[in-house]
Symmetry: C2
Subunit: 470 residues, 2 copies
Amino acid sequence: MALDQERVEEAALRILELLCRQGSVSAEARELDETAELTEELLRGAGFETRQLRVGGGPAAVYGELRGRGNYTLLLYNHYDVQPVGPLELWESPPFEPTLRDGKLFARGAADNKGEFAVRLAVVRALREAERELPLTLRWIVEGEEEIASPHFDEIVRAHVEALGADGCLWEGVTARLSDGRASVAVGFKGMLAVRLDVRLLESDAHSAAAAVVPSAPWRLLEALASLRDSDGAVRIDGFYDPVQGATEAERQAIAAASETMEAGLREAVGIDSFIDDLTGAALREEASFRPTCNIAGIKSGYSGPGFKAVLPAEASAWLDFRLVPDQRPDKVLALLRSHLERHGFDEIEVTVMGTAESAGTSIDHPLVQRVVRIAEEVTGQPPSIIPRMGATLPIITSLQRHLDVPGVAAPDNPFYWGSRAHAPNEHIRLEDIGHAIKFTHSLFLNLASPPSRLLRLASSRLRRASTWF
Amino acid sequence: MALDQERVEEAALRILELLCRQGSVSAEARELDETAELTEELLRGAGFETRQLRVGGGPAAVYGELRGRGNYTLLLYNHYDVQPVGPLELWESPPFEPTLRDGKLFARGAADNKGEFAVRLAVVRALREAERELPLTLRWIVEGEEEIASPHFDEIVRAHVEALGADGCLWEGVTARLSDGRASVAVGFKGMLAVRLDVRLLESDAHSAAAAVVPSAPWRLLEALASLRDSDGAVRIDGFYDPVQGATEAERQAIAAASETMEAGLREAVGIDSFIDDLTGAALREEASFRPTCNIAGIKSGYSGPGFKAVLPAEASAWLDFRLVPDQRPDKVLALLRSHLERHGFDEIEVTVMGTAESAGTSIDHPLVQRVVRIAEEVTGQPPSIIPRMGATLPIITSLQRHLDVPGVAAPDNPFYWGSRAHAPNEHIRLEDIGHAIKFTHSLFLNLASPPSRLLRLASSRLRRASTWF
């Protein structure tokens, strides 16, 4: 079935601009109801039966269903909320006035995650104009709290197991077209334990003249932190690595065959010449995917303004996140951390849990993954770059797997790229990526539920071996 | 010569209230000219010949001279500037509206250091009313930058060596009356090296998902800090302790005989039950006086707001102060610190000097000190509590000693006490301490230049042995 590519691109852009005019900042509880209503209206206009799902005091998650031919049901996940805009003066155009410049659309949320929603919706509309019915049933959930770690999502999923049930799920997707022309596919995410450590040894700050006799909260915190990690980054908490399983052979092969894009992109994003241990290529990607970490996200004590204040601080705090690999459970790591601190005599250090997420993903050999990989190859003419496990964490996956038992994948239907500046000022997408994402999405909706024979001629021999009909 | 104590107390209080209405916050360059003019006018009214000393862009230091009988010249040091008011909402009355409450005067600067200036001036006035001439010549310098570490003071002293020359100096003084009824005397101050350590490893913050491969500035800073100090507080920089001389026998005796006030006061001020190593009594005071320290005054990296932000910070900073004992030169310690960091491979850590001060003081056996001690004993009826070396630092002493070679002492002519909350909200003095400070100051001005015979009957045998005429 032919696609009027240009027309669908224009439609996607219009939808995206409409959504980007909404300042739906979840951290500020801003314009969430309005954006949920706009999202619902857009789904309704494309033929979905919709409703708003709410639990507790959270904003609505928008739900829609569009019945199609055949027995295959695909669940789509997106979010309509966005990050705060950050330093407004760094934006070259107002964050909530979508602006076309240099072949790009600038707006908060353009890349994360309104662009993907717009692409998916534009493709659905085009398919429905061509034939009355899609070859598969779509269910869609668009939540409003992803940027604040989806605090109500698990409860929403648990309360609507029937409505959300599906054969496969497309999570928030990954780059539609890497710089080497390949599509990218991600199948797993690390888990996380985020904690705050607080030490308070005095009721109020002392003059630092008393340092010879008054105990120091920042020194005490530093000793505790130093006990957690070697200088090579190895975590020194007993038992931390016990459940860690290495990468499977399939994962190693995928990592080896993946694009260098992550390396170049990360290098440019943070402005460094070399990575830890001068890692490059497959070794770098393997470390990023499979090594659990203990990161200091923040630390604060005493005076940090201009000049100098000779104070002995009463308290000190550190914010840590542990990124975890499969079988490293956050609750177990928390227990190990607590007993480590106790065993080393750091009784005065208070541990507060700031967030947890299980490591989650889908096996690279899973038929859904293999089908997405083949479709991506069909569209781009080359095998996609597969990341078995992102360094990031996507808490929603755990809920989808736990309550719905639905396999999922982050597919290349997202019109963003390494330079999109998601979460930063001047967030944008390249217009060309809308076209790439549409091509993949169109092919996916048409072919996901088809018997494999239709695709066989396009698949590489390596992929053909691994794939099975599902 | 009898003193109309009540009348002088009232005069001191009036002068103090007048000065405390000036919001002379040096850190904010606020009302400094006005306060310098008021100070000069007050000195002029008491018979001083005055002028304003200025160097660079700094505010004026007010200078005055009042010639008296005899050959002894005493230099008085005070400062008219005050600390910022801090959180205004914590003040029970406006900081620059001096308020009498519960036998106390509340105002920013009441304790630090306008109260002492008012007491000294009220006593001078009373003496001049009684006799036309004082028995000694007074020279007085009142600077306006003490609370920001006296950045122009050294140059001012160097430029006015002749005008400031004297036989002895009263530095900013110490508590007129401790809770056990004794006066206090301090003769030495620790030196200081204040530095900021900065590590910047990335151009911008990374997502903490990249922690497995991107180097961490806060972890690197923590490693460097951990290398500087043992958990028992011992500094691990090679050569740091080499020049350290222990306390002299006279200093040890003074420490042993000193009041417990510092212990109780400090305990209450910071709200702790016990000090490092459960130190108490003379052992605690000895440690506070003679142990050099490495203190973390501040540390900051990454996100420290509400909630959690999964960031891998691009940079990290720490503010350290080393408190130094005699013969530990700040420039030498700085060189040792730099070579320590270099030798341990911390090349990426940038060291910025934020301030230095030499350890400085006067020998406890010095005739000026012994004379002040004897006068304090005369006034209170018991030997004063002598601190050979405060944990704090008074940079002005180095300038006075270097350029003028004038011995000095922190005498009990200051109407403040442990609970005065200098630098904090609700700064105040107790009215009764004005009376105590006046009694000491009056006796000092009358007797400092007198032959020892007049005082002999009052001195303890121990003190008599050590004293010599000067």
